[in-house]
């Protein structure tokens, strides 16, 4: 995550005109075990901007990212890619999970595994991996089994792995949560560079400073509901929603929201 | 109705031929009805039956290899051996009879013809009474069984039923006791090709396991069974047993013969 190397980032700028974007969610609900975890959510993700999803723990940020990425199916509503190449949308996306899955292989094998299945040939793979390992500071760990890495190192590997796929849309679920300050800073630079190269980034974070630094657009989620969608500049000046306001003040504890006078409709959750 | 009606049971170590033929299923209820003693019959190879009896795991030995039975008594494993019944061994083989066994004058000639034609002969190969009988016949002919084994001479190493199954699917010849043959249902194209030679007689005997050697042997119950088997009632029951209408075993206990 060497911020000085932005020019050599292995992303392929010229390919990046919308192939699957925009992504349109219409009245999406997600239920599990009788609980409505995502409620009537409608939103459109457009090419270009970086979207940050904010919200307290358990708000549904990770579920929303999974729904968008197609890993879970909505119980109601639709999730549609509306670009020209929507027959294989998975090919143009990648995701960094909040708890990254480490294949029981070395760091390098973790990277080459996904590249192989994207049909990238051996020579190109080796070069790409070298490059990306360097940018994420994993070069000297290349041969270590991925499951033995420290948590922060695993998070870097997850970023490297998703990034190497050169996606049009990159989902990231709190990608810097386990990173040290310098690595966080460096990853923010990388994210900026990836975005510049034409990749749509949709990420969640609990670091409000980071959100402010990176976001073009903010979604504020609360108990499975999208309470506010706004331009970053506007949102960080002052959110419209009262719950978003108290969240920004570091006050919003979702389990004692009654003290915060919430909208009436929020009461139904987990009553059964 | 008698002294033993105490729900006692005895174990009889016998061979698969008697069990598979259904003889015991037929005659035992008659015994149990009159005495109240139930009889548990073990159908295993002759060698195993003798071994079981020697170890004291049965009260009675009921097999068809007189030499071993006499030996069994001589070594004080058993008390006394009685003849019970007989039937005979037969040579079965494929209907088209490639070795022309049907025309043989005696069993040794039949065996000679098989060896000469190198027709497939399936041997039990398990040291059972039947196997030993078959070897008796082979020994009278100059033939190298060891080198032929695996070629035309096949040693099945299994019970009569399994050997018959094997013989019927490869259309070979084999020697079998008549009772197993009569009850056997997977004959395929096999038919009886040679029978009636007096040396093919198959004698069954019954012996009580020595209760002084094995204290737990239920001597009174066992004597009752042996007594019944060689009594007129028991012998008549054996003679009455039929497979598809044909008599299978011929009772020949010493006393019974006299009466007849």
């Amino acid at each position: 995550m060497d911020s000085s190397a932005n020019e050599t980032l292995p992303n392929n700028v010229e390919n990046k005109s919308a192939r699957i974007l925009p992504l349109v969610l219409k009245n999406v609900s997600y239920e599990k075990a009788g609980m409505r975890l995502i409620k009537d959510l409608s939103v459109t993700f457009n090419f270009g901007s970086l979207t940050v999803i904010l919200g307290p723990n358990g708000a549904g940020k990770s579920l929303l990212l999974r729904l968008c990425h197609g890993l879970i199916k909505p119980s109601k509503g639709t999730v549609d890619w509306c670009g020209p190449k929507v027959s294989v949308p998975q090919r143009y996306q990648a995701m960094v999970f909040q708890r990254p899955v480490m294949l029981r292989r070395s760091v390098i094998a973790n990277l080459s595994h996904s590249l192989k299945y994207r049909g990238i040939n051996k020579a190109e793979r080796t070069q790409k991996i070298d490059n990306i390992l360097q940018h994420t500071g994993l070069s000297r760990l290349a041969k270590v089994p991925a499951r033995l890495l420290s948590v922060g190192e695993q998070q870097r590997l997850a970023v490297a792995r998703a990034w190497s796929l050169d996606p049009e849309v990159l989902f990231m679920d709190e990608p810097t949560a386990a990173l040290d300050p310098a690595a966080t800073h460096s990853l923010e630079n990388i994210i900026g560079a990836i975005k510049k190269s034409g990749t749509k980034i949709i990420m969640s974070t609990h670091d409000l400073g980071q959100a402010k630094r990176l976001a073009d657009e903010v979604l504020f989620l609360y108990r499975g509901r999208l309470l506010e969608q706004a331009d970053a500049s506007q949102f960080f000046k002052k959110p419209n929603n009262d719950l978003a306001q108290s969240f920004m003040r570091g006050e919003l504890l979702w389990w004692n929201r009654q003290e915060l006078k919430p909208p009436e409709q929020l009461k139904e959750r987990r009553q059964k | 109705t008698n002294a033993f009606a105490t729900n006692g049971f005895i174990v009889v170590a016998s061979t698969t031929s008697t069990v598979n033929s259904g003889l015991f299923k037929n005659i035992l209820p008659k015994f149990t009805k009159t005495t109240g003693i139930s009889v548990r019959v073990l159908g295993v190879g002759t060698g195993q039956a003798i071994n079981v009896a020697e170890r004291g795991d049965a009260d009675i030995l009921f097999v068809h290899h007189k030499i071993s039975e006499v030996e069994f008594v001589k070594n004080a494993f058993g008390v006394k051996r009685y003849d019970v019944m007989y039937n005979d061994f037969i040579v079965v083989g494929p209907q088209d009879d490639p070795a022309d066994v049907q025309k043989a004058k005696n069993v040794v000639e039949a065996y000679k013809k098989i060896a000469a034609a190198k027709s497939i002969f399936v041997s039990r190969g398990d040291e059972s009474g039947t196997h030993k009988k078959s070897l008796e016949f082979w020994r009278t002919i100059p033939v190298d069984l060891v080198n032929s084994s695996g070629k035309w001479y096949r040693e099945a190493g299994s019970g009569m039923g399994a050997t018959l199954n094997l013989t019927s699917s490869i259309n070979g010849y084999t020697l079998t006791d008549r009772s197993t043959w009569m009850a056997f249902q997977n004959k395929g194209s096999l038919v009886v090709l040679f029978e009636g030679d007096p040396s093919m007689r198959n004698q069954y005997g019954i012996t009580m396991v020595n209760p002084t050697r094995h204290k737990h042997v239920k001597a009174p119950l066992a004597s009752a069974f042996i007594g019944w088997v060689i009594s007129n009632d028991g012998q008549a029951a054996i003679n009455d047993f039929r497979i598809s209408g044909k008599q299978t075993f011929f009772a020949n206990a010493a006393g019974y013969k006299k009466i007849n």
């Binding site: 075990a33 | 548990r40 019959v41 795991d57 399994a162 009850a183 997977n186």
Partner: protein, 233 residues
């Protein structure tokens, strides 16, 4: 062809449902289920303990256990036979040629299978749980309890593998049970008997019934397991 005959024989057996068949079916189930239950009581803790405890010779025991999954039924039958025989060490109990002897033989066959497969499954979960359980300071035996409980939905396949071995096995029960009519005759020994009588259709018919039984037991296990899983998440 005989397969058709076999189905006809199976149907006939079921339709003219004789008490003889019922007796055999019940004895089969009884012997196998009791044997598997006892094998679980022994094999599950042993398997889990092997995953958790660290001691010299642990791998050796694991390898031996794996090898013992291949205990030949006839050999087990012989050993149990020699032990229970009147001239054997436990001869005075008079257990030979009883259902109890058959249960003992099957326990010997099934316990290593359950223990070896449990060791493997538990080892995978222990990797995940070890740090937490050792952190809260619970002893290895209590760790075994926790692992077995939390792994119960995976262990069902292990137990069913053991049940499969028990219910299908003929070599051991034949030797120690003796296939005595009305006393120790079970499905598999009946099938062997009918085969040796050359009545292949009847043998296969019995085989079909045995498979149907196994299927019912497995389906029941699955349904119970699934319901429990739904309840516990």
């Amino acid at each position: 062809m005989e397969i058709g005959d076999a189905f006809a024989a199976a149907m006939a057996l079921i339709i003219n449902f004789e008490s003889g068949l019922a007796e055999i079916v019940l004895l089969s189930l009884q012997v196998s289920i009791i044997a598997v239950a006892i094998a679980c009581l022994i094999g599950l803790p042993i398997g889990a303990a092997l995953a958790v405890f660290q001691f010299p010779g642990r791998t050796a025991i694991a390898v031996i256990l794996n090898a013992m999954m291949g205990l030949p039924p006839v050999v087990v039958g012989l050993i149990v036979y020699l032990t229970l025989s009147r001239s054997g060490p436990l001869g005075t109990l008079g257990l030979l040629y009883t259902p109890t002897a058959m249960i003992i033989a099957q326990i010997c066959l099934v316990t290593p299978i359950i223990a070896a497969l449990t060791r493997q499954t538990t080892e995978d979960l222990w990797q995940e749980y070890a740090e937490h359980l050792r952190s809260i300071g619970i002893g290895p035996w209590r760790a075994v309890t926790t692992l077995l409980w939390d792994n119960r939905f995976s262990l069902i396949t292990t137990i069913l593998a053991g049940f499969g071995r028990a219910s299908a096995e003929v070599g051991a029960v034949m030797i120690v049970g003796g296939n005595i009519d009305h006393v120790t005759r079970v499905m598999t020994t009946s099938i062997a008997l009918e085969t040796s009588k050359g009545d292949l259709a009847l043998a296969l018919g019995l085989g079909i019934i045995l498979l149907a039984l196994a299927l019912s037991v497995n389906a029941a296990a699955f349904i119970i397991n699934d319901a429990a899983m739904k309840r516990h998440g």
